[in-house]
């Protein structure tokens, strides 16, 4: 085992080292230095490239180093998490710059990026775990930095309130999970996934069902499933915009990865039996999320409900067989990350000059047509209108759900899309139809903002229908 370090572990190890380097680099440079930012940029991108370059060792692409496993799903999830981290870092940069009033909104960018890296590493751990202990550790590594990030803006009362709320809710969720794990251990007599799976294959007991229930409750908090979603709108609104974006993508991706690992791993033998529970959670969550979003007027609160609904849609895919479900979820997370970040970049640009409400969008199509087009692209993609990526993502999810005959749920989810389309149209209406407000000056974009918005818009348009992007990524993998 210790004779050589397998190459697939390099990105993981680098990412673990990365926050220390970035934070440590501040010791050697002055307060306003750009070096930590450059290191962070270089590091994240290098890790992302390494993830793509390092070939999975030939064969089944599945390794064990004590409790660390890197399979195809793991690699793809790592890429999603890295994309999210990179975009989150770019989005946050503006908040640390000196604005018109000479003061940045937030301080200590190096620590901020370090926290994002830790959260990302938590996601890595979740998808690599093969026993309950590592699994739990990963989930916590992913969550705890988010608590700190939520309260990063020290002048903002709302942020502290949101963080408090988040910590309280998160702790309860952790308790639920631990409880579920303990029962699972009690049932199977082992922490290892394979042995748990083996034990479940041999027969079930009420203890198992109780533990499954607790696990779903626990993860329900983190994935904002009904009825545990109530913290999300407050936290999303209270946190700084880049944190909200990271929260809605990285956290959600980690939580759904947790479920995927669980449902297709140790709980695979009883997937059929827990399907009604998943279907119920999915259906109710997406309905509640959509209903909640209808009447929102603040952008981040709106995005919170929208992401609750998206969580419901993602759950639909968990009903399908393993390969199909995993493909659908990974693909959707890519699409969701890109569309969501596009929206948050635009909201961030608006937030620098105005309040983040629907009313601030007025007249956007007259003053900044390109921004209005980008906004429409991201909203239509989230609503699942072809040929944008969101449609193909949702198509994947529904395809997976329908493959096991859950037509009623799929029909319900599809009909809910109409509801979703309504509120996304509300937002587009604010930007496109409403006349500009006299005292709102046109927004000025920095070069980076413009570049990222254009890049993401093109990505949202193209990754859907370009076959090489959706197929060939997955063609070489056995998910």
């Amino acid at each position: 085992m210790s004779q050589y370090i397998p190459n697939f572990i390099i990105p993981d190890a680098l990412l673990l080292l990365f926050p220390f380097i970035v934070i440590g680099s501040r010791l050697f440079c002055d307060y306003k230095s750009k070096i930590p930012w450059r290191i962070a940029n270089f590091g994240f991108i290098a890790i992302f490239i390494l993830l793509n370059l390092i070939p999975l060792a030939s064969g089944e692409g599945r390794f064990f180093i004590s409790n660390w496993r890197v399979d195809d799903f793991g690699v793809l999830m790592r890429e999603v998490l890295m994309v999210s981290a990179i975009l989150g870092m770019w989005l946050s940069k503006d908040y640390f710059e000196h604005g018109a009033d000479g003061k940045p909104q937030m301080h200590q960018i190096a620590e901020f990026i370090g926290a994002i890296a830790f959260a990302t590493f938590g996601g890595f751990t979740v998808v690599s775990a093969c026993d309950l202990l590592t699994f739990f550790l990963g989930l916590e590594i992913a969550t705890i930095p988010m608590y700190a990030l939520t309260a990063w803006n020290k002048q903002d009362q709302m942020g502290s309130e949101a963080a408090t709320k988040y910590i309280l809710m998160g702790s309860v969720a952790t308790a639920f999970e631990l409880f579920g794990f303990s029962y699972l251990y009690g049932f199977a007599g082992s922490l290892h996934f394979n042995e748990i799976q083996h034990a479940i294959t041999n027969g079930t007991s009420p203890l198992l069902w109780l533990s499954v229930l607790f696990l779903f409750c626990g993860i329900g908090f983190k994935l904002t499933l009904f009825p545990f979603y109530t913290w999300a709108p407050d936290v999303y609104e209270g946190a700084p915009t880049p944190v909200t974006a990271v929260l809605s993508v990285t956290s959600k991706a980690t939580a759904i990865a947790f479920l995927v690992v669980l449902v297709y791993g140790p709980l695979a033998p009883i997937q059929q039996q827990i399907a009604p529970l998943i279907a119920l959670l999915a259906g109710v969550t997406l309905f509640v999320g959509n209903l909640g979003a209808l009447k929102q007027s603040r952008l981040r609160r709106f995005m919170a409900y929208s992401s609750i609904a998206q969580a419901g849609y993602i759950m639909v895919a968990l009903l399908g067989p393993a390969t199909m479900g995993k493909t659908a979820i990974v693909y959707y997370l890519f699409v969701y990350a890109v569309s969501n970040y596009l929206a948050f970049f635009i909201f961030g640009i608006i937030g620098h000059h105005r309040e983040e409400t629907f009313a601030s969008l007025r007249g956007l199509s007259k003053q900044n047509p390109s921004l209005a087009i980008a906004l429409a692209i991201s909203m239509f993609s989230l609503a699942g209108i072809p040929p944008l990526a969101g449609f193909f993502g949702k198509f994947h999810l529904f395809f997976s759900g329908a493959s096991t005959g859950h037509y009623v749920l799929v029909a319900f989810a599809v009909l809910n899309n109409v509801l979703a389309l309504f509120y996304y149209l509300q937002l587009i209406k604010s930007a496109w139809v409403d006349e500009p407000d006299g005292h709102l000056t046109p927004l000025r974009l920095t070069k980076r903002q413009r570049g990222v918005v254009i890049l993401l818009s093109i990505a949202v348009v193209v990754i859907g229908f370009m076959p090489f992007l959706s197929d060939n990524i997955f063609a070489g993998f056995n998910l």
Binding site: F380, V410, F422, L425, F465, P467, D471
Partner: protein, 509 residues
């Protein structure tokens, strides 16, 4: 070569958008000319290909496209994850509908020459809408079909809400959401077709060779049929159309009523009825009952309205009802009549909305009670409007007569009392149609000219050209329908063969 040209039909509009993207919005002349040129190129290409489809009729086709007699067949794997293919082809019906679309898009670009607002975005959206409609008619793969079908929602809302008039946001939302509701019903059943079909294929050609399980068909057919019927404003899903059309700018009304509403009827025929003929036989008689509203009550509502666009919208509702009457008849003549009506109504409603738009641009009102004596100031536009009206009420010589009489003959052949009663009612309702058309023409075109309209001018060359071309199309179909029917029959024969071959099994056992 022709296959490449055929595939270019939907690519050219998209390329135009890309080419125009870097040009600054201030050069609106250049942008508009580019869009007009691209629409003209597509129009010429489509006309040429339609002629080729006619000329090729009777010759053997590609083996893969066998039962449907598809020309220019292209089949490329597209999204392997769910085995979607890029499958396009042309038979008579969709080629003619493509030709109709090309004419309407061309006319739509020309009539919106002076549209207010950001012209660059508007014309780009028209081209995107055109792409979507072309794609729907061309594709023979259900995923591809649905992608194009749903794409319209993206363009429609923005075009209506940003460039429309009156209650534009309301109208746009109503239209978009209702259509999205329809397409979500379709999407839900598409998955069922894929998994229940048992051959893991989305291809309409392949799926037509299998029989879907009966209990699946029984719930899927009504869902899918109604899903498509939403966009053809079949009762009770007609409510979006008057508000949507009246709020939309001229070109969008033309496209929406002229070609998009046909997409629904086309989908009913091509997908729902073709793939689930057994269930169609059971369910379609109930659809006939719904038609009483469309065909009989639609014209009555039109009489009561004062807004020109509302009148035309209700007239469209009644004319589309006739398409469904032809489809529900399930006889070859009925299907041919329905297809003819799709094409004929596309041209005449295009002409209707075009002239209304031109008149509205001058009078700034669509209320017929405020107008009068328009004929004296705008004889050309007035005549265009009257011709559209006459074609609509089925005056022999125009396309409407051929299409409607074919439908009536076909529907009356159906051995069902309900269908015959509805057919008779439909024939009688032509009188009602005549009432609202003549009443509208009378109030608007004749009588005293209000003082404020003294300075109005007749259509310019661009507008006259649009009217002349559309009238010529109406006359062409009306005067020599044989040519069109011959093209149509190529594609209707396989569809009818499939329907005729199906037997209704005992349901429930």
């Amino acid at each position: 070569m022709e296959t490449i040209l055929f595939n270019a039909i939907w690519v050219i509009p998209l390329l135009t958008v890309l080419v125009c993207a870097p040009i600054s919005a201030t050069h609106s002349k250049i942008l508009k000319s580019l869009h007009a040129a691209s629409a003209t190129v597509v129009l010429i290409a489509v006309c040429f290909l339609t002629y080729r489809v006619y000329a090729l009729s009777g010759t053997p086709v590609d083996k893969a496209a066998d039962p449907l007699m598809l020309r220019f067949f292209t089949d490329i794997p597209w999204l392997d994850v769910f085995k979607a293919h890029y499958t396009v082809g042309a038979d008579g019906l969709n080629m003619l509908l493509l030709a109709l679309t090309a004419f309407i898009v061309w006319a739509g670009v020309l009539v919106s020459w002076n549209i207010k607002g950001n012209q660059k975005v508007f014309f780009a959206l028209i081209q995107l809408l055109a792409t979507s409609v072309y794609g729907v008619y061309m594709s023979f793969d259900l995923v591809l079909f649905f992608v194009f079908y749903e794409m319209e929602a993206l363009c429609m809302y923005l075009m209506i809400a940003c460039y429309g008039s009156g209650r534009r946001d309301y109208g746009g939302k109503k239209l978009t959401l209702t259509l999205a509701f329809g397409s979500s019903m379709i999407l839900a059943t598409l998955f069922g077709i894929y998994f229940e079909g048992g051959i893991s294929s989305w291809s309409i050609v392949e799926l037509s060779k299998v029989t879907l399980p009966m209990d699946f068909q029984m719930w899927a057919f009504p869902l899918m049929f109604m899903g498509f019927a939403v966009s053809s404003s079949l009762f009770p899903f007609h409510f979006w159309s008057p508000d949507g059309h009246s709020a939309a700018p001229t070109a969008v009304s033309m496209l929406a009523a002229g070609v998009m509403m046909k997409m629904g009827a086309y989908g009913c025929l091509r997908v729902a009825m073709f793939l689930m003929p057994e269930a169609a036989k059971i369910w379609l008689p109930y659809v006939v009952a719904l038609l009483i509203f469309n065909v009989v009550l639609g014209p009555f509502i039109a009489i009561r309205h004062k807004d020109l666009k509302y009148i035309t919208a209700y007239s469209s509702i009644s004319h589309l009802g006739l398409i469904f009457l032809g489809l529900a008849a399930l006889t070859p003549i009925g299907l041919r009549g329905a297809s003819l009506q799709m094409i004929s109504h596309g041209f005449l409603t295009g002409l209707f909305f075009a002239t209304i738009g031109m008149i509205y641009e001058r009078t700034h009102t669509r209320d017929i009670t405020e107008m009068g004596g328009i004929m004296r100031k705008m004889p050309f536009l007035g005549v265009g409007f009257v011709i559209a009206g006459f074609a609509g009420l089925g005056l022999p010589g125009f396309s409407g007569f051929i299409a409607e009489s074919t439908i009536f003959i076909g529907a009356f052949q159906q051995d069902s009392t309900l269908t015959r009663i509805v057919t008779i009612l439909a024939i009688l309702s032509i009188t009602t149609t005549a009432v609202y058309i003549l009443q509208t023409a009378n109030r608007m075109l004749h009588g005293p000219l209000p003082q404020k309209y003294e300075s109005l001018t007749d259509g310019c060359f661009r507008e006259k050209l649009v009217i002349v071309v559309l009238v010529a199309c109406l006359l062409f179909i009306g005067v020599c329908p044989g040519w069109i029917s011959e093209i149509l029959d190529q594609s209707i024969a396989p569809i009818f063969a499939k329907i005729a071959a199906s037997s209704i099994p005992v349901v429930g056992g």
